[in-house]
């Protein structure tokens, strides 16, 4: 079979495109090399809906930011995605930075932002009392906010799948060929086999004798390659978008993978900030951001480090120390010891300095080099892509039976007076599995019954919110693993923590039992 459109990459951009395309009579495929949607920059970012004052007018980023921002909030409402319009401040710590604020304000007005306002330091501190006394002035951006980025991508992809889009995880694009009227994608299965390692499991021999064989976990190679055919390709491959581009068209830009590291702080530190706090951009760089998350924790970061390995999401001591120093400059009460998690994301910065949006070859559309504010812009990028497809004559017929919308039951959000009745009718919502975030078994099981079920513990985390809190899955991890195994009929030993190959367990104990 030949797809009409294949989207390469199920990050937030690919998912947004799939969402809008699913409204048309098209056979669409959404290809993803990882085992879930939103596994790259879409899940490891600052989770902010940006206000739109930052991009230089004239760029794609400037054109799409404000539209993207407004569409993000609309979509979150429509798809029941957690988001909050917190507003944001860009704070000037020295008087000369106040000049920068004025430039940002002008840019913002040019880009279509509304309600921008420069306030003095005292006014800012009156609203955000934990900020440093050095705040000289701040740009207030009322329209911006925070979002659950992976749920946003997932929600759009779920609706797409519900309306016939084929989601193909674990599918890595190796090569692409044009066959006159369609492309042939050679794709490999990325699932490496992480053997259960129980072959040499020997119970402890005797005190003092050699222990174990010391064999390393073996990782198998790729399984067979498959051919996927599609008439039109959309390149939404994030940090690999130049690689995909170069399979079809002459090189025209290059991704400069840029890693950003973060601290996630537990909410028990108290209400450090109510809005997103940006440092004023300066010659020394953009500075770090201090923001509340939709789960009422706090996110601090990122730095920006150009790296070689596009998959290298390791955190480093030097970067974390650097972020901590900068964060203390903004919020003196910041204490790295209240961190519950550190993580890093790799942004698809590029040599081009802007998004790369446009046709690169016959029936081949780049939505490439989507860096910050890519999350905010994603819905607008997808609309721009649809405009191009429409011009090319691909969007003739809308689906008559398209079913949009999405509702998620979150125990925490059930009104007090309705909880008793709800739990009586749905007892699984009475069993709290994640005690830090109060997530029930009902929510986990429901997440497994949606259009794109989770396959890993972190897959459940991204959908239901388990393990997000201060114990980071220490208590609920084993129980979530058990529920995944039970609901999907899988062997518990096969269940991964996150991506392919990240198995949690290696074998059973007391294996050699003799059965009569």
């Amino acid at each position: 079979m030949i797809f009409d459109v294949a989207i390469i990459g199920a990050g937030v951009v690919g998912c947004a495109v799939s969402y809008y395309l699913s409204q048309y009579e098209l056979k669409t495929a959404l290809l993803e090399r990882e085992n879930d949607v939103a596994m790259g920059a879409s899940r490891a970012n600052t989770a902010i809906i940006h206000g739109g004052y930052d991009p230089v007018p004239g760029t794609w980023m400037a054109r799409l930011n404000v539209e993207g921002m407004r569409r993000c909030f609309e979509l979150c409402e429509e798809l029941d995605v957690e988001c909050r319009k917190t507003g944001s401040y860009v704070i000037a710590l020295e008087d000369e930075q106040t000049e920068t604020l004025k430039i940002l304000l002008e840019q913002g007005v040019a880009n279509g932002c509304e309600g921008l306002e420069i306030i003095d330091g005292d006014a800012c501190r009156a609203r955000e009392p934990h900020l440093t006394e050095d705040v000289a002035a701040a740009l207030w951006v009322p329209e911006s906010g925070v979002i659950n980025p992976w749920e946003f991508a997932l929600a759009m992809a779920e609706v797409a799948v519900r309306n016939g889009v084929s989601f193909m995880p674990n599918t890595r694009v190796c090569d692409i060929a044009w066959e006159g009227d369609h492309y042939v994608i050679g794709a490999a299965d990325t699932r490496e086999s992480f053997e259960p390692l129980d072959r040499d499991a020997e119970p402890y021999a005797a005190a003092g004798s050699a222990r174990g064989t010391g064999e390393q976990p073996t990782t198998g190679g790729e399984r067979g390659k498959t051919m996927i055919r599609a008439r039109y390709l959309i390149n939404a491959a994030g940090v690999e978008s130049d690689t995909i581009h170069n399979m079809v068209a002459p090189p025209s830009f290059e991704i400069v993978p840029t890693r950003g590291e973060y601290y996630l702080l537990d909410r028990t530190v108290g209400p450090l900030v109510k809005s997103v706090i940006f440092a004023c951009p300066s010659a020394a760089g953009k500075g770090v951001t201090f923001s509340p998350t939709i789960h009422d924790n706090f996110l601090v970061g990122p730095n920006a480090e150009v790296i070689d390995d596009r998959d290298d999401t390791a955190v480093t001591r030097a970067a974390l120390d650097d972020i901590a120093r900068k964060a203390c400059r903004m919020v003196p009460d910041f204490n790295p010891r209240t961190s519950i998690r550190n993580f890093a994301g790799v942004r698809a910065n590029s040599t081009c300095g802007d998004f790369v949006i446009g046709k690169a070859a016959e029936n081949f559309l780049d939505l490439a080099a989507i860096k910050s504010p890519g999350l905010t812009c994603a819905p607008a990028i997808a609309r721009a892509a649809l405009d191009i497809l429409r011009e090319d004559g691909w969007l003739s017929e809308r689906k008559a039976d398209w079913r949009g919308g999405r509702r998620v039951v979150r125990f925490k959000e059930i009104p007090e007076e309705e909880r008793a009745a709800f739990v009586r009718d749905h007892p699984l919502y009475g069993r709290v599995i994640c005690r830090c975030e109060t997530i029930t078994e009902g929510e986990i099981v429901a997440s497994m019954k949606r259009e794109i079920p989770p396959v890993s513990i972190d897959g459940v985390k991204r959908r239901a919110g388990t393990g997000m809190g201060r114990c980071q899955g220490g208590f609920c991890g084993p129980r979530v693993l058990g529920i995944i195994a039970r609901e999907s009929g899988r062997d518990p030993l096969s269940i991964e923590e996150d991506g392919a190959g990240s198995r949690v367990l290696v074998s059973e104990t007391k294996k050699a039992v003799r059965r009569e």
Binding site: F194, Y204, G212, Q216, I340, V432, G482, V504
Partner: protein
């Protein structure tokens, strides 16, 4: 289940079991234990090793045996037990406290009570709290999570293991993993001494030739899907890694045993005052918190070294909770007879009170506050020292006028061991000022 109890105990581990038992013995008829797991016993159920109970039961038991004995004691006492349930919120009140509970079987309900015992235990510090650089590969577990997988679920979490932190659970897991066929390559401790019991260092590491590196830490974790390699480095006196001391270990598993934190989210949300030193509630001599009628015991109050002391402490908290409830109902009776009676004369809240103030040698004390008038005979003060002492020292209590109120000799002390001393009522009555400082000093 009733809608109103005299006492609700939150947590069915050793602390909750001890408190419920002694409250029943103290005269309460309507007690509820709320436990989040499917059975009572708490973390003892996964601590299958022995070494429990020498102080309390006078014999050496495993964790499940110790829990079993505490559970057996409750049989036939008429204490209501709600397992597989969660206490979501405590709403303190003047007349009574209310709790929101939820469970799949019992549903979502509001229950009222006169007293609450907090016995929620503690949780483990995670990687995020100590910021180990490296990837987010699978194979990084807190020691307690690994213990649950291995001992309860019957699943191995790895084949080649390194352990960061020499807390007791980490040491216990070194032996456990080894006996199940894994290779434990090293145990790495940031401090220049181990926080674990000597017995565990000997029987869990030395018995299996597992090296213990003091003043070392893991400075990098590598591996994309599963952990593949870690870097270990020596640290200087400021805990900064020293260049050139790198050691590399090819492992698939990192176990973290880097500390326990009392789990007080529920207490905090209820407005219970928390001591930043213990991360547990500030309590009076009877383990009553800053909110009248809410008591705390066990690891939710401060992290204990031996469960025997948890039992001891929880029994006194349970007794105090029972006394509180019974005293209130007596007062109610008196009020009923004589409308003018204020009922305040016997109220311990009105009694004079002083604080225990640890100096820089002492990590914390429990209790933090003492009302001498409320002490029957003696009050037991638990504390931990901040550094190890290998030669005899004395623990000195000084009052507001720097007068020595009491001193106790100890031949040796270590931060891993919880120490305690017993202060007599007579001494307490002589305290001048509003505090007693506690310090480790040379023997004069």
């Amino acid at each position: 289940m009733r809608d109103h109890y005299q006492l609700i105990v939150i947590g069915g581990g050793p602390a909750g079991l001890g408190a419920a038992f002694s409250a029943r013995r103290g005269g309460l008829d309507h007690i509820l234990i709320v436990e989040r797991d499917v059975e009572l016993g708490g973390i003892l159920n996964q601590c299958i090793h022995n070494g429990f109970g020498l102080h309390y039961f006078g014999e050496e038991l495993t964790g499940p045996e110790y829990a079993g004995r505490l559970i057996d004691r409750l049989a036939g006492l008429g204490i209501d037990i709600l397992c597989d349930a969660m206490a979501l919120e405590i709403m303190p009140g003047e007349q009574e406290h209310s709790l929101r509970l939820v469970s799949a079987d019992a549903g979502y309900r509001l229950v009222t009570c006169e007293a609450v015992v907090l016995a929620m235990g503690c949780r483990e510090r995670t990687r995020g709290a100590i910021q180990i650089p490296g990837t987010r590969a699978a194979g990084i577990f807190t020691a307690g999570t690994a213990q649950r997988y291995v001992n309860i679920e019957g699943c191995m979490v790895g084949r080649r293991v390194i352990i960061l932190g020499s807390g007791d659970i980490g040491l216990i897991m070194a032996r456990r993993m080894t006996l199940e066929g894994a290779e434990v390559l090293a145990c790495v401790e940031l401090l220049p001494y181990s926080g674990g019991l000597t017995r565990n260092i000997v029987q869990c590491l030395q018995d299996f030739n597992i090296p213990l590196f003091l003043s070392h830490t893991i400075t990098k974790i590598e591996g994309k899907d599963r952990v593949k390699r870690v870097t270990v480095q020596q640290v200087d006196e400021n805990f900064r890694p020293i260049d050139g001391t790198e050691m590399y270990y090819d492992v698939d598993t990192v176990l973290l045993s880097v500390g326990l934190i009392p789990e007080n989210e529920l207490s905090r949300a209820a407005g219970v005052e928390i001591d930043p030193k213990t991360s547990g509630p500030v309590v009076y001599e009877n383990r009553e918190t800053s909110i009248p009628g809410i008591f705390a015991c066990g690891n939710v109050l401060h992290v204990h070294d031996l469960v025997d002391f948890v039992t001891e402490e929880s029994e006194s908290a349970g007794e105090a909770a029972a006394a509180y409830v019974l005293r209130r109902s007596d007062t109610d009776k008196v009020r009923g007879r004589d409308e003018d009676h204020t009922g305040k004369s016997g109220d311990p809240r009105q009694a004079s009170c002083f604080s225990l103030v640890p100096d820089q040698t002492i990590a914390y004390t429990v209790p933090q506050r003492i009302r001498p008038a409320c002490v029957d005979n003696v009050v037991r003060v638990y504390f931990r020292v901040k550094a190890p002492y290998k030669t005899p020292k004395q623990i000195v209590f000084r009052d507001g006028e720097r007068r020595i109120v009491a001193s106790f000799r100890r031949p040796y002390m270590a931060p891993g061991e919880m120490e305690h001393v017993v202060l007599k009522r007579a001494l307490l009555d002589g305290v001048r000022g509003d505090h007693l400082t506690v310090s480790v000093e040379e023997i004069s």
